[in-house]
Symmetry: C2
Subunit: 691 residues, 2 copies
């Protein structure tokens, strides 16, 4: 990825003179001919550029091959392996070939160099025969262990800077995940999702960490441990393997049209726990007690870590939401929708700027991007023109596809191209046990507690699927490759790779059989979405009333104030704001919203409605009782006939405390697949391309 | 753009041990605490990453601002300035603010360093207190001239590696240009376009070079020259300022629906001369006579340069065409079109791989990408599914838009952020004179010569417009910023910036008035596209028969063999190939093509036809005489009534030597705008968004 500067002579013009003054050089001019040296340097730089291009080309070819195989599999109706699993296998092959099959000549041109340095500045100026060369710090290099690996130079070349994953490949994946959250079901299950994501991930992290600590202590006892491995390392490992991947299983869920609530729980949890895991791992790294022993328990350090966690999370959340809101406002109050290209460009740039803004402020860009994606889908998307909606969703879909397959094929490659693997059988077995226990400690107790409060219980079969399908993917990999400096981190990285491989292949491949074994309803149609099979086998109605009051409060606030403020939909602010705010409300309410006032057309339904469904909203004054219990249950039978014409008030509103909230109830489609409407395939058709 | 490695500890694992063995370090450990130094290094790296993010954010904000202003201008119907001109103005403002308005603290942490080096290896290992740090060569740094510039560090930070332009920003722009060539008119005028692009650009380069050499000699005489400026430098300058920009003027042309032949000539020339200029400048750099004086005339060196020119050009052309053909074959022989996402991803990856392949083989990636774009539009695009066509075109449109505006706003910024500007009034005046003369020497004599052979003459008013509208843009800038090592190059860079600014503002803004002064037909409808106003003021028919025989030969070959081989369109190979090749022909002819055989449905027309026009092809057996002269001219009057139903055989075919070639004749739309069909605006409406 590193494009070199072909004739790298511009940098000199921007070097700060003081830098030069500060650095004093004792020049030993050994080269006879300056121009010769210069030419050699340029030739080497050119060679390096060619090599870079060739390496990137390898990956592009790998991706092309993956695409063709995916097509073949879809075409021939194979479904025992997911495309990400395929990408990994191809990566593995290329890794084997590069490592054992290719003999690249070694670069012997490196010169002997005597340096006297007292620190490691980010920029180094080296004087060669009167010419100054700028060097930039790449990082620390551990001294060689003496075992020489064939083609080391070549393998080093195909290795990307780990930060590429965090700064280039992860953001589109995470943004896409946030952007394509099935928002209505997501919000309906928000409480449970947040519990799984926060409490569950924390539990999983600590359980995994504790098991691993036991394992490490055992390894030390039997003399299998070749280096330091502290408790914080164990916790760190727990944090990174607690991030479940939203990609693979959910593609299958989407394909099979699995129960929407299960989908919402799984998707919501895996998207959010990525964010939790990344912030959690940062907080664990930040846990550094004062004094000599840096690995003891220290309350102040713990509190500081907790502060880091909360700060990072809320800061990133705020950044993401802020840029989303800003984009919504810009797209609302300009007529940018007349120019879809400009609109899409703006949408893309604003979403990208979230990442940069968060990173520039020291927050976590990836987390900010997630919340930005959710906000953009919830507000901005409604303001876009139809063409721009398609463009935007297709753009992010493509970016997500490329980034995802790139990461997975790189993962395969790494198994052979990484030189310092530490495979310890005991540790690996312990790790598999630990992630099993950690996942179990996340799902089962939490589900039990949640079921105490939930009207629509999370059935045991749902719990088993959630337990089994929590496979590890891109985020776990990116977090583990980010730092492989110490023995502990190397062992973690190698083990993580194996965990990712086996979960993607085993859990990914086993999800479809499991769904049938567990008798999970697949092929759920839009008109049956509110029916879930309860533990008693009887259909059970799920309503919004099950949400706890904070979420209901949020619904109202969002619907009455945020939506009208940020989009053209919802009731006009002139109606919802108190009279004293009249002028402001009029100013902020778009003419479009005023026109819509009569019919209360929530444009959000564009996102979550199947095309062709003309959802009719009930009268605003219709209300249910304060507990959200159905006041009318007579047309229960007719409910499943035509979703667009269903007039069951229970399904269309959530009213409490005199505030009337009208929600659309039809099957929300994934916003990224809702346009154009996909032909609804037969249940047995496994070939719909995944989104 | 430089994302740092947050904890840069992976690289060590890939460092070749021999590198370590080869390098011997005399370690002087001055730092007291290793961890302290380490922490400081990491802190600095983090700081640098934040700074990078903030700088990129500045550009994103700039682009966002540009987008909003473009919208405002389009909305308010201002048209005196093009969006690229706007982007430059914003860049200028930000440059001024960064340079004079912001006071950033200087980094005083750089340490004193004593180094004894005998060369400049690409990788340097530095031993600090027992820890090895890897440094990579950034390039040569000229020693400071002693004048300290405020905010130098800050300005240095907002500076991108010039190779970013060549490796990231230019490829999408050039690909998009090739992809959106109006292919039918392009091929009709191919002879003239190639003449302008090759002969014309060479002429322009040498004329400009000679004038500049005169200017430089004069400067030396009056003592205005502060450094070396050789004849090869003058030629290099001639090469880089001979690349005219296909963006700005052609956006205006497109908006005004200017005469299609003028459009084709201007677009074809400016797209191809970018390729010629880049290869030409490489060849001039490659001109290095042996011996002491490297700036004398040397026949061998000249021939070598010529060889470099031909080799680079043909090699890049071959690479571009090859990947295009490969993509066409893959999309033809797989049913990838069932999965638009996979299809678009493949299309994108294959197009990108052209660039990498060419760079890896030592050719010019940007040139390869251009020809790849043309091939993809000519063949592959026909094989794509309708959804994928839209996706692909929108994707490249967006990339082009972003890259273009990024380059132009960066250009504005550079005027203030670049520290080593050399503005010499004499040189600047000379340069403006030289580009004027160079452009004149390109257009007028060549047009005269071409008119000797053309049936459809290039009128004087066309020539004046081509003369005036040849403004300089992204390519000129990228070529000039690529190397600013010497005094000559710096003077060139500064002058080039001014040339770009003034041509974009003056020529870009003046094109619309000029078109009316020159009485160029605007608002040309599809049914009038074949009528150009001759020098005598009478309408003149343009036919394909004016093409010289090599191009006609190419048409036939392309239509009879390449199109059927690479796409589903054209006559089946079973018909066109000799009988002995029957089995191969059957194997290569898709069933779809066989089905189409009766109606000869050239899918290419999808690209070059307005939606809704049902073009009827004439019977295959209809032919004109061997000279291509019209055999029927009776329905000349009816020709302008309905394009879709016109049955003038002259306009629909090019027949010679018994081979029948049927070409569609309707107004080709830019493939990137043809879907969905834009509403045809009134001629006075300047608000159609540019493509």
């Amino acid at each position: 990825m590193g494009f070199y500067r072909r004739r790298s002579s511009v940098s000199k013009d921007f070097i700060h003179p003081r830098l030069l003054c500060l650095m004093c050089f004792s020049v030993i001019c050994l080269a006879e001919n300056t121009e010769m040296v210069n030419a050699v340097t340029e030739m080497k730089a050119e060679e390096s550029h060619r090599q870079d291009s060739a390496n990137l080309l390898i990956f592009i070819m790998l991706l092309t091959l993956t695409i063709l195989t995916i097509w073949l599999f879809k075409h021939r109706r194979f479904r025992f392996i997911h495309e990400t699993g395929l990408a990994m296998i191809y990566g593995l092959f290329v890794g084997v070939i590069l490592r054992f099959g290719v003999n690249s000549p070694q670069d012997l041109n490196d010169v002997t160099l005597n340096c006297a340095v007292n620190s490691s500045p980010t920029t180094l100026l080296v004087n060669v025969s009167g010419r100054f060369y700028e060097y930039s710090l790449k990082g620390e290099v551990r001294d060689s262990k003496g075992h020489e690996v064939p083609n080391a130079e070549m393998l080093r070349k195909v290795t990307f800077d780990p930060e590429v994953f965090f700064n280039i490949l992860l953001p589109p994946i995470i943004f896409h995940a946030g952007f394509s959250l099935k928002r209505r079901h997501f919000f309906r299950n928000l409480g449970s999702i947040l519990s799984y994501a926060f409490v569950g991930t924390l539990t999983s992290c600590f359980v995994t960490g504790l098991v691993m600590y036991g394992c490490v202590v055992f390894m030390k006892l039997i003399g299998q441990l070749g280096g330091d491995f502290f408790f914080t390392d164990c916790l760190f490992f727990g944090a990174i393997v607690s991030a479940t991947d939203p990609v693979t299983v959910l593609a299958i869920f989407n394909e099979l049209k699995v129960d929407v609530d299960l989908y919402a729980l799984m998707f919501g949890e895996s998207v959010l726990n990525d964010a939790v895991a990344i912030v959690l791992s940062s907080s664990i790294v930040a846990y550094q007690p004062e004094g000599d022993n840096r690995h003891t328990f220290d309350v102040i350090a713990l509190l500081r870590s907790l502060g880091v966690f909360l700060g990072f999370f809320s800061g990133s959340f705020a950044m993401g939401a802020a840029t989303g809101v800003m984009t919504a406002l810009v797209t609302k109050f300009t007529k940018l929708r007349d120019f879809p290209l400009l609109e899409t460009a703006l949408f893309f740039l604003m979403s990208w700027s979230t990442f940069l803004l968060a990173e520039a402020c020291g927050f976590t860009g990836v987390v900010a991007v997630l919340f930005c994606g959710i906000t953009q889908a919830h507000y901005t998307y409604n303001n876009l023109s139809a063409e721009s909606k398609t463009r935007t969703k297709e753009l992010f879909e493509l970016l997500n596809f490329l980034a995802e397959n790139f990461i997975f094929s790189y993962m395969g490659l790494t198994l052979f191209s990484f030189h310092h693997h530490v495979f310890s059988p005991v540790f690996i077995v312990g790790a598999f046990l630990a992630i099993f226990l950690g996942r179990a400690a996340n799902i089962y107790p939490l589900s039990f507690l949640l079921n105490l409060g939930r009207k629509n219980k999370i059935a045991y079969n749902f719990q088993h699927v959630m337990m089994f399908s929590g496979l590890r993917g891109a985020m776990t990999f990116a977090l583990s490759i980010r730092d492989t400096a110490t023995y502990a981190r190397q062992m973690m990285f190698s083990t993580t790779l194996l965990i990712v491989f086996s979960t993607v292949w085993v859990c990914g491949g086993g999800t479809t059989p499991l769904l049938s074994v567990m008798q999970i309803k697949v092929g759920v149609d839009t008109d049956q979405e509110n029916v879930v099979t309860g533990p008693d086998g009887l259909p059970q109605r799920s309503t919004k009333h099950e949400s706890a009051w904070p979420f209901r409060l949020w619904y109202t606030f969002d619907h009455n104030y945020l939506k009208p403020f940020l989009t053209h939909s919802g009731p006009p602010l002139t109606n919802t704001l108190p009279a004293c705010c009249g002028p402001i409300a009029r100013c902020l309410t778009s003419s479009q919203a005023c026109e819509n006032a009569g019919q209360l057309n929530d444009e959000d339904t564009e996102l979550i409605l199947n095309d062709g469904c003309n959802l009719m909203y009930g009268d605003m004054t219709v209300s249910t009782d304060a507990h959200g219990m159905p006041t009318t249950s007579t047309n229960q039978a007719g409910l499943y006939s035509l979703p667009g014409t269903s007039d069951d008030p229970l399904d269309r509103e959530l009213a409490f405390g005199g505030t009337r909230l009208v929600l659309p109830t039809d099957e929300p489609l994934d916003p990224l697949t809702s346009f154009p409407p996909p032909p609804s395939p037969p249940l047995s058709d496994p070939l719909r391309h995944r989104v």
